[in-house]
Amino acid sequence: MKKIILSLVLFIISFSSMAQKPEFLQTMGETLGQFSTCKNVADFQALGNKFQMIANVENAEWLPLYYQSYCYIIMSFIEQTDAAKKDSYLDVAEKSLTKLIEMAPAEADVFALQALYLTGRLVVNPMERGQEYSGLSGQAVGKALALDASNPRAKLIKLQGDMGAAPYMGLDPKSFCPQAKELLANWDNFKPKSPIHPAWGKDQVEGIVKGCQ
């Protein structure tokens, strides 16, 4: 009962704080809409800049910073060759994540993003960083799932990590296909708290499931 009251109170607080900022919701919505048009590093940087700008104005909201960090992590994955650049994008993401963890320590999506960031660090140099960062990324996923066992993005990152490590463990990556199918089937059961809360990831699972066939 206490829990219900608490979450109700939290809901009202968050709802009211957002309700006071129609401009915030509108700008966030518009900016989020631009994800679909981003193709290269420059596009994501411009979008990340926009989120940074919103974060500067709304310094009590964690979502703008979340998306800014997400953009820079994507940039490191898109950058093909320059390892130093990859790391410099991740440096920006790391700075925002440190703030995010302080701002929203109870958000599963924050830790799921941290796990993605750590995977990014690993990808820069798997030979040297593999062991350390796969462990750290696993820990972050564990934290995310402890906060919310139903968070589909945490499950997705875990799945991607497992499939990536499968060849090194003498396993067939396809042995994870049933899990991927289940994750996709249940994806829409998870309802984001608001239209501007994280909702990405479904197309990635679809991609994995497609690869299974």
Binding site: E23, T27, A42, Q45, A46, N49, K50, Q52, M53, I54, N56, V57, T81, D82, A83, A84, D87, S88, Y89, V92, M127, E128, R129, E132, G135, L136, G138, Q139, V141, G142, L145, A146, A149, K155, K158, D162, A165, P167, Y168, M169, G170, Q179
Partner: protein, 695 residues
């Protein structure tokens, strides 16, 4: 929008403060910001790696043209670093030259820290020693530090002319700094080089490790608690089964056998602090049958038993935003008991090192480091022979203080200037050593650096046993280096000159008389070191090539005149290649090493150190197979082609009937060395458990 040199900054973020109105600069660094707002505003311009710029503008509804020049932000991580003489490997750095993983996977290193370092330029491989010989320096001139404190006895004890290896497992360390000259004022009592090993931070989870090797077994367990962990390990090595299967050049009566127990504790304290404690006890013994070269002599057994206790503790962290502190202490108790022929020798070293370093950050660009340390050491030796007995010992306390300022003029230019004072109470001598180094970044990816300094070290124990009428030995270093790092390809070229003075010389008098020793020795070393590492060009492949040219001569110890020392070889080449074979889940390694002939002394020849050894050649292979994520199977062979290696000859101390000193070749203990090993790691909350959480 441009940076200082006028280059454009595409992607910079431009916005009006406290509004949602903003944009990003295009690929030419230009931007157009449209807004409906009017009145005075702060226009913010931000870009990664640059200091944010703010421009006051007054919006009146018409177009405003502005030009913004941004200043590069100072960031220690990307700023120039002093690399003269230093090989550094950290966990997050791109400029990785050699990592702990390399120590394990470099073929020919045999999992030995020092073996792996011998694939770097500036080192000379001495197969009859196995120790580090750096830039024309003797092995005693190099010191090893773990987490900031000195390791008095870093190598295992061996018989004369047999190769040794380091006491520590390379898996213990997360980072290495190998400085081959010109190092910081923080380090003293080393004429040639310092090796700084930093142990791992907190492990990720509880685990149990089992290593089964052809030469022994190791069991280790790790238990975590909140912000802390303890690891305990037990190791037993016995070379007897291995030596019975392969051909040995020596006759082992009792193959090397050792047992070791170690405990390590790690605890985070506060937000930034980390406390580490490591303690180990090692027991080691072997007996080897040696040919007696003396005329009329018969073979005898050489027996050695070693007991080594080592402990070190360290704390480092921030005291406040500006103050950081490192404290470290170590304790060593090492005892060798040697028996051969009718002689018994006991050697005991008890050493303590205590050190404290403070670092104060005045600004991002200016920091000051200062601290003090104490090296206390007692060395005792008893020699029992049928006709004579010698019991000798000495105790020395060296007290040192140092300070060093690090000044960045910009992110392109840094200088480090420092000084160190040392006082030895046994030698009653006081020394001041200045140190200076600087680096200048020419382009984003390349830089020059130089280092200069005076370095002092107490004479070796064998002399201090009999006299305190000696001064500290001295080496002056001049190092100049160029380094470029482009896209995972590292090139480094270094030239250096070292001048030695006050080296200890013996004058042929009785060894136990103080008058037999003087500081009249001197010498020099100069050379060129090249290093090239590339893990980009070949997909899944990584290789490095190092080459060293060394020209050195010295007049020290029992040298009758200035001569090339036995440990120096003019040309040293090392090529290391590693390839990850995805389909086979294996890392394969090949390593080739060549050292040009070294000299040795033949007492039958009138010219000192005039004989030449064979060149050293070895081609080594290693294979690591990842059977499961937690099971690794490893195999290695050194000197696959069986090149004949010989490390000079040893001579009898008396002549035979013909007036010659009889001799025998010094060979490696075997022409090839094979290792087969299996490493298993078990974690309690393994994969299965984490999957459960998701379902």
């Amino acid at each position: 929008m441009t940076q200082e040199q006028g280059e454009s900054l595409p992607g910079a973020n431009v916005y009006l403060q406290r509004t949602y109105d903003g944009t990003s600069a295009n690929e030419n660094g230009q931007f157009i910001l449209k807004t409906k707002k009017t009145g005075p505003f702060d226009l913010h311009i931000e870009f990664m790696g640059y200091e944010p710029a703010v421009q006051k503008i007054d919006l009146k509804g018409d177009t405003i043209r502005i030009n913004v020049q941004m200043k590069e932000a100072f960031n220690q991580l990307t700023a120039v670093t002093i690399t003269a003489g230093t090989f550094e490997a950290g966990d997050k750095k791109q400029a990785v030259t050699i990592t702990p993983l390399d120590m394990v996977t470099t073929a020919g290193a045999k999992g030995d820290v020092y073996g792996a370092l011998q694939s770097l330029p500036g080192t000379t491989t001495n197969g009859e020693s196995g120790r580090l010989f750096v830039k024309g320096g003797d092995s005693e001139e190099s010191q090893t530090y773990i987490d900031g404190s000195l390791v008095y006895v870093p190598y295992n004890s061996t018989a004369p002319n047999l190769s040794t290896r380091g006491r520590f497992n390379p898996f213990m360390f997360k980072g290495t700094i190998f400085s081959t000259g010109g190092y910081s004022a923080e380090y003293g009592q080393a004429l040639s080089s310092v090796l700084l090993l930093n142990t791992n931070d907190l492990p990720a989870e509880d685990q149990f490790d089992l290593s089964v090797m052809s030469i022994g077994v190791e069991v280790a367990g790790t238990k975590l608690w909140k912000n802390g962990a303890v690891t305990g390990s037990v190791t037993y090595n016995n070379l007897a089964p291995y030596m019975n299967l392969t051909t040995q050049n020596y006759n082992w009566i009792h193959a090397p056998e050792s047992a070791k127990g170690a405990v390590s504790v790690k605890q985070k304290t506060g937000k930034t602090g980390m406390f580490k404690l490591y303690s180990s006890f090692n027991k080691d013994a072997f007996t080897i049958n040696q040919e007696n070269l003396e005329p009329g002599g018969s073979p005898f057994d050489y027996h050695l038993a070693n007991n080594n206790y080592f402990m070190n503790a360290s704390w480092n962290g921030h005291l406040s935003e500006k103050w950081a502190m490192n404290s470290a202490a170590s304790f060593t108790n090492n005892r060798d008991d040697i028996r051969f022929d009718q002689t018994m020798i006991g050697k005991k070293i008890v050493g303590t090192h205590v050190k404290n370093v403070f670092n104060y950050l005045f600004t991002e660009k200016f920091s000051l480091k200062f601290g003090g340390e104490l090296f206390a050491k007692t060395f005792a030796q008893n020699v029992r022979m049928p006709a004579e007995t010698h019991d000798n010992s000495f105790s020395n306390n060296t007290l040192a203080g140092f300070t060093e300022a690090q000044i960045y003029a910009s992110s392109k230019f840094v200088t480090r200037i420092g000084a160190r004072v040392e006082y030895s109470d046994y030698l009653r001598s006081f020394k001041l050593s200045p140190r200076l180094s600087a680096a200048y970044k020419v382009t984003n990816n390349s830089q020059f650096s130089l280092a200069y300094g005076w370095f002092y070290q107490n004479p070796v124990d064998d002399y201090l046993l009999y006299t305190n009428q000696l001064n500290q030995e001295r080496a002056d270093h001049y190092t100049f280096s160029y380094q470029s790092l482009v896209n995972n390809r590292t090139l480094r070229i270094e030239i250096y000159y070292k001048y030695y003075k006050n080296l200890v010389k013996t004058n042929g008098g009785e060894f136990y008389l103080p008058t037999s020793y003087s500081n009249l020795g001197s010498g020099y070393a100069k050379g060129l070191d090249l290093f090239w590492r590339d893990n980009k060009t070949i997909k899944n492949g990584d290789y490095w090539i190092s080459y060293s040219y060394l020209d050195t001569k010295r007049d020290y110890r029992n040298f009758p005149e200035e001569a090339i020392p036995t440990f120096a070889s003019k040309h040293n080449l090392s090529v290391v290649y590693k390839h990850w074979l995805n389909g086979l889940r294996s890392l394969a390694g090949v390593n080739f090493k060549y050292s040009s002939p070294r000299v040795y002394n033949n007492p039958n020849s009138p010219v000192f150190n005039s004989e030449q050894m064979l060149p050293y050649k070895s081609l080594d292979l290693s294979w690591s197979f990842l059977y499961r994520k937690n099971i690794i199977i490893y195999g290695a062979v050194t000197n696959v082609f069986g090149f004949k290696n010989e490390f000079g000859r040893r001579y009898a101390s008396n002549t035979d009937a013909g007036g010659n000193y009889p001799s025998a070749a010094i060979e490696p203990s075997s022409n090839r060395f094979y290792v087969v090993a299996c490493f298993i790691t078990l974690t309690r909350k393994g994969e299965a458990n984490q999957l459960d959480k998701i379902e």
